[in-house]
């Protein structure tokens, strides 16, 4: 009989050990950015960024499939260096930030690739959720400024019309938008 609790303790210890195999990082807002750009009259690019972003990622280097990534962007924090345009972008013709306050990515499957990780997941914007696959370049951990840090970069191309944006507002500003994510994570 006394063997059973001991066995149980070993199982828990192993389970705990496997949980600890993943490193949990908080999104480092100071050293990260989520930007976007879209074509203007098909002659140039309009660029902007979201200033309020949060996220977490958990990296299991032994078994990358157990890694998870999540990112939450406050749509209201859109910033194109033009206050009037930002106000316009927050309205229902574009992001409709009162109705759809966040833009979110949640990973569903992760696999290691030579450049970093290939992360499949769901991308939710403007109330529409679509599956996307991101190639996260990076992932090397370093220790700096008293914390362990890791960073990734990726680009995501999407069509605004796929996310139920008002088709009447797709014209001067192109349908396709490119979201550029450069994020750093940190842990103690």
């Amino acid at each position: 009989m006394p063997r059973f609790p001991a066995l149980l303790a070993i199982v828990f210890a192993l389970a705990a050990g496997s949980l600890h195999a993943a490193d949990d990082y908080d999104y480092d807002l100071v050293h990260s950015s989520v930007g976007f750009k879209a074509r203007f009259l098909d002659i140039s690019w309009i660029q902007g960024r979201f200033n309020d972003v949060s996220g977490k990622f958990s990296l299991d280097r032994k078994d990358p499939s157990k890694s998870t990534f999540s990112l939450t962007i406050k749509a209201d924090s859109v910033d194109t260096a033009n206050a009037a345009r930002d106000e316009h972008l927050r309205q229902p013709d574009y992001f409709d930030t009162k109705q759809f306050p966040t833009i979110e990515f949640r990973s569903t499957a992760v696999k290691a690739i030579p450049e970093g990780y290939e992360v499949a997941g769901t991308f939710t914007m403007h109330g529409v959720t679509k599956p996307v696959t991101l190639t996260l370049v990076g992932g090397k951990e370093i220790e700096a400024m008293g914390k362990k840090r890791v960073g990734f970069g990726t680009e995501l191309k999407l069509k605004r019309s796929d996310f139920n944006f008002d088709k009447g507002q797709i014209g001067n500003i192109g349908d396709e938008a490119i979201i550029v994510i450069d994020c750093a994570g940190q842990r103690d």
């Binding site: 309205q91 013709d93 109705q99």
Partner: protein
């Protein structure tokens, strides 16, 4: 496209309204329901021509206004027109819709996540219910057409203000609503059966469809102003002034009834005087909205206007409807 949508909404509503009034010449109840149906089809035609039909299931405040609030309110008005339910139940139904209107319009938005105090929602519901119930009841007994006319104007002003504040689609949707209401009212006034005026026993009083159409206009105005205020950039003061206009059109009538002398009653009951009074807040709203547009979005429109002839169409301070034409010409140029 905008002009086509407004004219299309008006023409469909007027044609169907005239047919309805003609078919139900001796049956006011049927004519009243027909007027509401004409308004509905006018709105559908206008939104179709504007390419602004709501998405299903509704996901935005504007969708919920067009797919839930307006149809439910119109169904209640159809019930009222057909005399299917008693006055008590009619009042209760209107009260329920008024109470649920704001939560339905703001469903799933940040406004219902603790940002909006319950007292504000209750106050809005009370205002909506009182104006809907009170004005519609008054129109049914008096046959007053001024409120419906003013509501058409208020819808146009609400649309212009919402569009000039930066929500083009939200503003443009108001125009087919106004067009359909105007068209259905024209058909109504052109002929058709009438309700007896209450208490007088007089036949030939209120046009049968007028109370229902007035109610439809008031509900449309309230819904549009709420979504314009909460999802667009329509200011609180502008929203209140727009909603005040129909009340100003009916208030002198009520005050006039309290006066002992007939001269005062005539003055306050004068349609011209009441329309002018109701126009005051609407004109203020348009002037302020235009000034705001010129200082903020007008410059932005100037920035995004493409070079060439279209640039002349959209100068800083241009109205947002020119912007939509420019977009069309820009995309045509891009395609070519």
């Amino acid at each position: 496209m905008v002009v086509r949508a407004v004219l299309g909404a008006g023409a469909v509503a007027a044609a169907l309204g005239a047919v309805g009034a003609g078919i139900s010449r001796r049956q006011p109840a049927l004519a009243a329901v027909a007027a509401i149906v004409a308004f509905v089809w006018g709105v559908v035609a206008g939104l179709f021509l504007l390419r602004a039909l709501p998405s299903l299931p509704p996901t935005t405040g504007l969708d919920r206004f067009l797919v839930i609030l307006l149809p439910v309110a119109l169904a209640i008005e159809a019930e009222a027109a057909a005399n299917w339910i008693s006055g008590f139940w009619l009042t209760a139904e209107r009260g329920c819709v008024a109470l649920l209107a704001v939560p339905v319009l703001l469903h799933g938005s940040v406004w219902l996540e603790g940002e909006t105090p319950a007292v504000v929602i209750l106050a809005a519901a009370l205002f909506f219910w009182a104006s809907w119930e009170g004005i519609t009841g008054d129109v049914r007994s008096s046959g007053d057409r001024v409120v419906a006319l003013v509501t058409v104007g208020a819808l146009v002003v609400a649309g212009l203000s919402i569009a000039m504040a930066g929500w083009l689609k939200g503003g443009l949707v108001a125009l087919p609503l106004a067009g359909a209401l105007a068209g259905a009212m024209l058909a109504e006034w052109g002929g058709g059966p009438t309700w007896r005026r209450s208490g007088s026993g007089e036949v030939g009083g209120t046009p049968a469809g007028l109370p229902g159409l007035t109610a439809a206009g008031l509900v449309a105005l309230f819904g549009l102003v709420v979504v314009g205020r909460c999802f667009g950039r329509l200011g609180s003061a502008a929203a209140l002034l727009i909603l005040l206009a129909p009340l100003l059109a009916v208030l002198p009538l009520g005050i006039g009834r309290l006066l002992p002398d007939s001269a005062g009653q005539r003055l306050l009951g004068s349609a011209r005087y009441r329309i002018l009074l109701a126009l005051v807040p609407l004109v203020i709203v348009v002037i302020v909205a235009k000034a705001d547009f010129d200082t903020r979005l007008g410059r932005l429109v100037g920035e995004v206007s493409p070079p060439g002839p279209a640039a002349a169409e959209v100068s800083p301070g241009a109205d947002p409807f020119k912007l939509s034409r420019t977009r069309g010409s820009a995309s045509r140029r891009a395609r070519s």
